[in-house]
Symmetry: C2
Subunit: 351 residues, 2 copies
């Protein structure tokens, strides 16, 4: 007989509820009760059972629990390949946040991949019907994402990080206020004395990009800045090379901007490079503020808008497991400006 505190080193297979019960001289169900409803069992018995549980190193079998309770305690997540150009570490942070939040609630993450959107939807259906995951997290929603509706139709529980343009009221989501993000950036630059603040974004069509553009627009108007903002509103695909070219075009203008707010850090890097080649020193001659606060931004001393990804993860999991049916399941979180030297110094008039 093993002495107390000594873990059975897996002699053969893992001990079952029955094994513990036998060892403690009680029935299966009593052991189960000790675990799930301790108040139901007499203290003396409880202690004895607890003792044997740890002595045998008993660990409930998740599959059996899942089968019996018909709930897997798994959250499904489709992992996307990261776009080659993206500087983002957001998915990484998000996954970690989800895992952390899940841990607190005794849930784990089930990661899967799929060829494309249809395959992803298929997989979700399969995993859900197969009981592999109870609910799903949707990441990186596009403006016209087909997934929310598809999952809704299949009756699969889910929460999205981000939201579609239309029908966002039909499903639960958590999102970051992108409009506010660029507004924060502009406000900050205005405080630093800038008046000609350009925007460098994606061509419209992508929800997120559009929202970030809108934030700039709103801020520019509320501060009554350069009315000829048409020329300060530049768009480029999300790559450094493209951003460099577009920034050149901004700079060669007769009244060039003294600051640039961009829709992504990638674009910001392009803007910084362009400025440098143009002979301007970033932070002194031209201020730049990026979006996403990627590690690259930190490395290059680029001010950037940081999304509260960790909080998003927590909220998503809370909404997923939430018994709090009260809330509408729609959460708009506030991003934060991280100031670094690319925008730290006050504006100095040029030309």
């Amino acid at each position: 007989m093993a002495e107390p505190g000594h873990r059975e080193p897996a002699g053969g297979s893992a001990p079952t509820l029955q094994d513990v019960a036998r060892a403690a001289g009680v029935s299966r169900q009593t052991v189960s009760n000790v675990l799930h409803a301790p108040e139901r069992v007499r203290p003396a018995t409880r202690e004895r059972v607890v003792e044997f549980i740890s002595r045998l190193g008993y660990q409930p079998n998740r599959q059996a629990q899942a089968l019996a309770r018909s709930t897997s305690h798994m959250i499904g997540y489709h992992i996307r390949p990261l776009a080659p150009e993206a500087l983002t570490s957001i998915q990484d942070r998000f996954l970690h946040a989800l895992a952390e939040a899940g841990r607190a609630a005794d849930h784990h993450l089930l990661l899967f991949s799929a060829e494309d959107e249809s395959a992803e939807i298929d997989s979700v259906g399969r995993l859900h019907r197969g009981g592999a995951a109870d609910a799903f997290v949707l990441y990186d929603l596009t403006a016209d994402d087909r997934r929310p509706k598809a999952l809704l139709d299949m009756g699969v529980p889910f929460v999205a990080f981000g939201r579609t343009d239309a029908g966002a009221d039909t499903y639960p989501w958590v999102d970051v206020d992108n409009v506010l993000g660029t507004r924060l950036a502009v406000d900050h630059l205005v405080n630093r004395g800038h008046r000609r603040i350009a925007f460098l974004g994606w061509p419209s069509g992508r929800t997120i990009g559009d929202r970030r553009a809108r934030g700039w627009h709103q801020a520019v108007e509320s501060h009554r800045l350069a009315s000829a903002c048409g020329v300060l509103d530049a768009r480029s695909e999300d790559s450094v090379q493209a951003a460099i070219q577009v920034t050149f075009r901004l700079l060669e203008h007769s009244e060039p901007p003294t600051a640039i707010v961009t829709a992504t850090d990638t674009l910001a890097v392009g803007a910084m490079q362009a400025a440098q080649r143009w002979g301007l020193e970033v932070g002194r001659d031209l201020a730049v503020v990026g979006f996403d606060d990627t590690p690259t931004a930190a490395a290059l001393e680029l001010s950037s808008i940081r999304q509260p990804i960790e909080l998003v993860g927590q909220q998503v999991v809370a909404a997923l497991l939430g018994t709090d049916e009260a809330g509408p399941g729609h959460q708009l979180l506030e991003p934060q400006l991280v100031i670094r030297s690319s925008s730290a110094r006050p504006a100095r008039p040029r030309r």
Copy 2:
């Protein structure tokens, strides 16, 4: 009766093997056979069953399968928080690769987090004994990582990405040849005509850093480069700021290097920034080669050593599920040099 091709829209709960059997007028086991050993069932029956399987949208319950077969088809993975300074997207790429490779073998990933190394080991034990995952992948092994031994002792199957300094022959791993990596970098720079090639790495102590340093050392010797390599071997903590300072020290030397090989892209970014502030143009006056080929490297046109992460993922999964007991379970994969403008031009003599 539903017409063929029409999916039952989850009227109530998911259909079971029994449901399909009843609908098709056969027994439970026959349906199971159609799925797992089709050759055992007569073509006519088989077709009928297949028909009903898709008509009802039947999907085997993974938990029940797991319970009956006592194998979960899950691979456990501990997700680490990414270090704030790290530019890396490697974990992201790796996770995706694992998910892809797992998909091909009908395995999914089980993500979990833990406070620290001990908690991670505990979790692994718990998850394994609880049947939640069959095997585990260990990521980012340190020189004296305690995990391999711990899992070995617990009898938990696993494969590591990376390896410890000692005892690496006692467990299966897949690793990238870091020594070769820096050697490739030096060879490339020598081809471009460089003779004074510095190394900027971590302070020794970390396995990976030491291996990368060794590669530089070997290459420098085999090419019979600057004998006074002591002064060209610089170390700094893995941050941009620290790297800038250390690079300054390299540059202020009487015979400064014309090229710098670094142990990480983060350090390379520092080197590039330092060069710039020193008035040197990277790619023309000073060549820089990084390590890891992070997105940042691509954005800054930094040449870098790229690890074949996708391949690592495949090999890890293969080793994990591999029936091919033949192999020693040790794989050393070759990294690749990605040439960009930071090192593209031939060396030009300075001073």
